[in-house]
Amino acid sequence: MDLRYTPAERAFRAEVRQWLSDHVPAEPFPDFDSSVEGFEAHRQWERTLHAGGWGMVTWPVEYGGRGLDLIRWLIFEEEYYRAGAPLRVNQNGIFLLGPTLIDYGTPEQKARFLPAMAAGDEIWAQAWSEPSAGSDLAGVRSTLGRDGDTYVLSGHKIWSSRAVHADWAFGLFREPGSERHKGLSLVFFPLDAAGVTVQPIARLDGKPVFAELFLDEVRVPVANRLGEEGQGWSVCMSTAGFERGLMLRSPARFQVAAAKLVELYRGRADSVEPEIRARVLQAWMDADAYALSIYATASRLMAGGTIGPETSTNKIFWSELDLDLHKTALAILGAEAELTGAAPDASVDIGDWLDGYIFSLAGPIYAGANEIQRNIIAERMLGMPR
């Protein structure tokens, strides 16, 4: 164990910091779900990142990355959140599908999809859930028929994030007559393909952050399948690992939120009740513990280790710390916590804590509800009977 950054790592951090300081927009963009303008501003930012060589530093150079290791990725993320840079509109692509493509894709698939993903030219949506397949993802019913070198996709996907404005989506499709985990394939399809209908779904605060996708005989090349035919489940589980594990939820994100919470508390410490202090400290400690744990996992992976059921402990830990952190912020805000802060004539600026709270409520649900994650920990990590 050596917890000092090497001179090269420190130089890398300084380089990232300098570039971000030169490029991060001074004013936040409008959010990427509510309007085309917001979405395109974020896409443009992805292009700027890519032009600077920062699209996805861990990817091979040939696909638009820098071929760097996971510690460097963590350093990049720390600086990215520290700089207050925009959220990554292509997170479904770069954090979830991208790593899976690198593991399972053919050379042609990698060449076709990764550079456009890294450049922000193609923004990706996920299309996992279906009306009767949520926590039980193996219950998907959407089908894939084969017509020569073409797949014909039909079915109904739901809770597809980013799909309202994105270019491409990936999802599981079933060979007709197959059951549960068998006969599934992971297939990509363009969201503007003939037969795809995208219907926005409003989140509880009215923002259209999801969509329903209706697929009616959508024709895509067989080359759009990732992994072997019928092996979609294991490919998908690998992606889910990235989703729950170290990729989607950077520790930096929670460390920045915890630091903001500490700041909020410092400003009001005299007027809040004494019980709040412990909750604020817990938020900082939890964000810190999460960061340390991810550094440990990254070190292990760099030395050839693999990621297993600990993605489930990660998922539970970050989703609960995020919810607790935001509940604590609302408790500090007190009677002003219910204000959305959206009106220009609002009396007080309560920041975006309420928005963050609403987002945090989804944490224990998506990427596999925490109840399912607890089952996974008990059965696969502890070896308890099913």
Binding site: A133, A202, D205, F210, E273, A335, D345, I365
Partner: protein
């Protein structure tokens, strides 16, 4: 000693609950929002026709002359339905204050509403649809016609709570009373909020039970999984032990113990509502996180009422004031005055 609701009280609660079950469904709420109107005029007419605004008004003034227990039952039903109209604050808070100040209750019992700007709340709810506002100028209570104030809208996460910062100037003409009235008003407001929170907590559980019994995953209803059962059982336990606190707080005459118990009621109901609404979001999964399912109405109202009429910090401090200084003991569950008498008799 009899800790039961009377038949009349139970009938009242059922009657209001039934009326709201018919007129205030999730579909009704969504229709109201889509229409952009602050109130459903037909529902409000029905509420007025039933005499509910006069629940706590003296019979001599045309009211029902009922007490805080009846008002708590009505407020619970309103919370259960996530009622958009300001019946609870009007009937449970404004009307008793007006009555105590000797104001003519005619308009307040026949459809007009009065909004309450209590100093404990930073904003005034539903001020735009009120005929008049009760406002504080230091100790004094003022009743101010709406046209004499300027309202600055403050958007709440609860789409049915229209909050306003109020700009106004106190004058001798609008002054109707002093100090003690605000204290009683705070107690009434806190108790009414607690009762609403109780109702919306129960609705959250009921909606979740129905959804979990229907929704299938892994080949069976999700409600047959122990984790789902236990989420809702935990919420129900909190509800069961908030309810008697609210009823006792409502039924007791004013005393330091009664005041502490009102705060206890607010805290317990807030905790029950938080547990129940979060369980509802979790049990409904992505559905519970969407606009189309009713859960969010309850979640947002819960978020707002948790902090209104005294934050948890405020009420915990009031409980502390009593608990950390008063004599405590197993014999002091009810009126402390009577207990003192026993102590004297036994001595």
């Amino acid at each position: 000693m009899d800790f039961r609701l009377s038949d009349e009280q139970q009938m009242l609660a059922e009657m209001v609950g039934q009326m709201l079950a018919e007129t205030c469904t999730g579909a009704d709420l969504r229709r109201l929002l889509d229409g952009g109107e602050p109130r459903d005029a037909a529902r409000w007419e029905q509420i007025v026709a039933l005499g509910l605004p006069g629940t706590m008004a003296p019979e001599t003034a045309g009211g029902s002359g009922l007490g805080a227990v009846e008002m708590a039952l009505i407020a619970t039903a309103c919370g259960y339905a996530a009622l958009p109209e300001p019946l609870v604050e009007h009937a449970g808070v404004a009307v008793p204050l007006l009555a105590a100040a000797g104001i003519d209750l005619g308009p307040a019992l026949s459809g007009s509403t009065v909004a309450v700007g209590h100093p404990v709340n930073p904003f005034v709810a539903d001020a735009d649809t009120a005929d008049a506002l009760l406002l504080a100028d230091r100790d004094a209570v003022h009743l101010v016609p709406r046209e004499q104030v300027t309202l600055v809208h403050q958007p709440s996460i609860d789409p049915f709570r229209r909050l306003f910062r109020v700009e106004w100037a106190a004058s001798p003409q609008t002054r109707i009373g002093v100090g003690a009235l605000w204290q009683e008003t705070l107690d009434r407001g806190a108790l009414s909020a607690a009762a609403q929170l109780l109702g919306l907590a129960q609705r959250s559980v009921d909606l979740s039970v129905a959804y979990a019994s229907d929704r299938q995953q892994f080949g069976k209803p999700i409600g047959s999984f122990q984790a789902v059962k236990h989420h809702l059982a935990n919420a129900q336990v909190k509800i069961e032990f908030a309810r008697p606190v609210i009823l006792a707080a409502a039924a007791m005459p004013p005393s330091p113990l009664a005041r502490a118990r009102i705060s206890h009621a607010k805290l317990a109901a807030t905790a029950a509502a938080e547990t129940a609404t979060h369980a509802a979001v979790q049990v409904h999964g992505a559905m519970g996180y969407s606009w189309e399912v009713d859960v969010h109405f309850l979640l947002k109202r819960s978020l707002a009422l948790a902090q209104a009429w005294g934050t948890p910090a405020f009420h915990r401090a009031r409980v502390a004031e009593h608990v950390l200084s008063a004599p405590l003991g197993a014999d002091r569950t009810f009126d402390a005055g009577q207990i003192e008498e026993i102590h004297r008799e036994a001595a």
